[in-house]
Symmetry: D2
């Protein structure tokens, strides 16, 4: 498990959890060349990944607080790209829209150090038994 945490996508992309609860999740990362698309701006997939990560962490905490055997898995990710960014430190903040027993919806916003919105998105997640596969 320690190995997985060390090796996963979040670590590959250098995203760090600032704080995480069932009400709000905040991650930060410093943009580097490993986040770029060929034109030298942050690849849209990085923003999708940050939004997916932050929403999933929040939904998982919320699901687990209700029942430790339950996990939340993403069903749909919808991300809108607002402003191109090349460098600097980015922050994603995710908050719940609904935390039902069956599904949850979280939304997240990525901002730069000047508080400008870079991307914004929404993730619908399904609450499943921790050992079940995504159906």
């Amino acid at each position: 498990m320690a190995t997985q945490e060390f090796d996963g996508l979040v670590q590959t992309l250098g995203m760090e959890t600032v704080r995480a609860s069932a009400d709000e999740v905040v991650l930060e990362w410093t943009v580097g060349p490993q986040h770029h698309q060929p034109m030298g701006i942050v690849h849209g997939g990085v923003h999708c990944s940050a939004i997916e990560t932050a929403c999933s962490i929040g939904a998982s905490i919320s699901a687990r607080e209700r029942d430790p055997r339950i996990a939340a898995v993403g069903l749909e990710n919808h991300t809108s790209f607002i402003r191109a960014v090349r460098s600097g430190r980015l922050r994603v903040i995710a908050r719940p829209i609904t935390r039902g027993r069956t599904t949850q919806v979280w939304e997240a916003e990525i901002r730069d150090e000047g508080e400008r919105v870079i991307a914004t998105g929404r993730v619908r997640l399904l609450c499943v038994a921790r050992d079940a596969a995504l159906g």
Copy 2:
């Protein structure tokens, strides 16, 4: 430019272009721990990134064929997760829905080696002057 290509997100995630034209783009990658979320399945952000990449490559080729000064930048990425996957080789295929002068819509599907659908998504892109920032 060579450095950027070496360093970018697509290389970080190990995605390889199998073929690319204005009509179809195919990428492949082998799943490793760097693609996982904490439960050991491929992180949704990886699927979003593959779909974003394949659609962007196709839209850029199409835009450039029409006018070499034009690039295509992503506006919206919508990805649906269909089936969890832990390992193996994945393939994303993107094809255009519309290739207008102002915007394009591409859709993409990720399948595993058994041809099962893993994820499917759609990207709306804006055609902009190659040196303009995303507005």
Copy 3:
């Protein structure tokens, strides 16, 4: 029930079922002023409604064939507008991407009489006990 069918949104918008099964649903309607937005083109909400309807009918048939007590309710609707249209007869065709026990994903395309794509979309649905509310 007859009253509901007579009175519902689908009847308000004049959409007619051409055929419907767990594998494919086809609806048609003739564009009139009641479908327009102020500029005289078909309102995007009409396309969303057609896509939502076609996908929901298919998912409900599929869910019911598996278990008559189960209904499918929409979780997410994502619609891309491809081409403006002012008049004529439109047709929406929906087909399943996945028909799991818990959720389904259907995609649908709207075409005009010249077979041009007008809009395309995707609906994620949740399979619920027929008498349960959306959670």
Copy 4:
């Protein structure tokens, strides 16, 4: 033009503008059988339509204030259904996320009289010359 306003989708669905500016748009409507799907709950297409309408009105006002020859047309509508509703008065509030010269993104939320969230969505719009067709 008066005829169009009288006849359009917004009038068909009985949606009334409470207030509208480039910063916020509010519409309301009273649920009736014409909004229902066969199970007697409000059809998802009604929520998509309300969100599309509110976001489009706001984006059009914003575009026109910048240049009266410009209109805003919807590219993508993404709506999440949060809670089923059968009756009562609903209100949609739309606010801008970005109002660029080329594209805009607005988000909107539908609430019932008890301030519960019923649906939430986002619309990406393209700013085009008022007489141009959607490309």
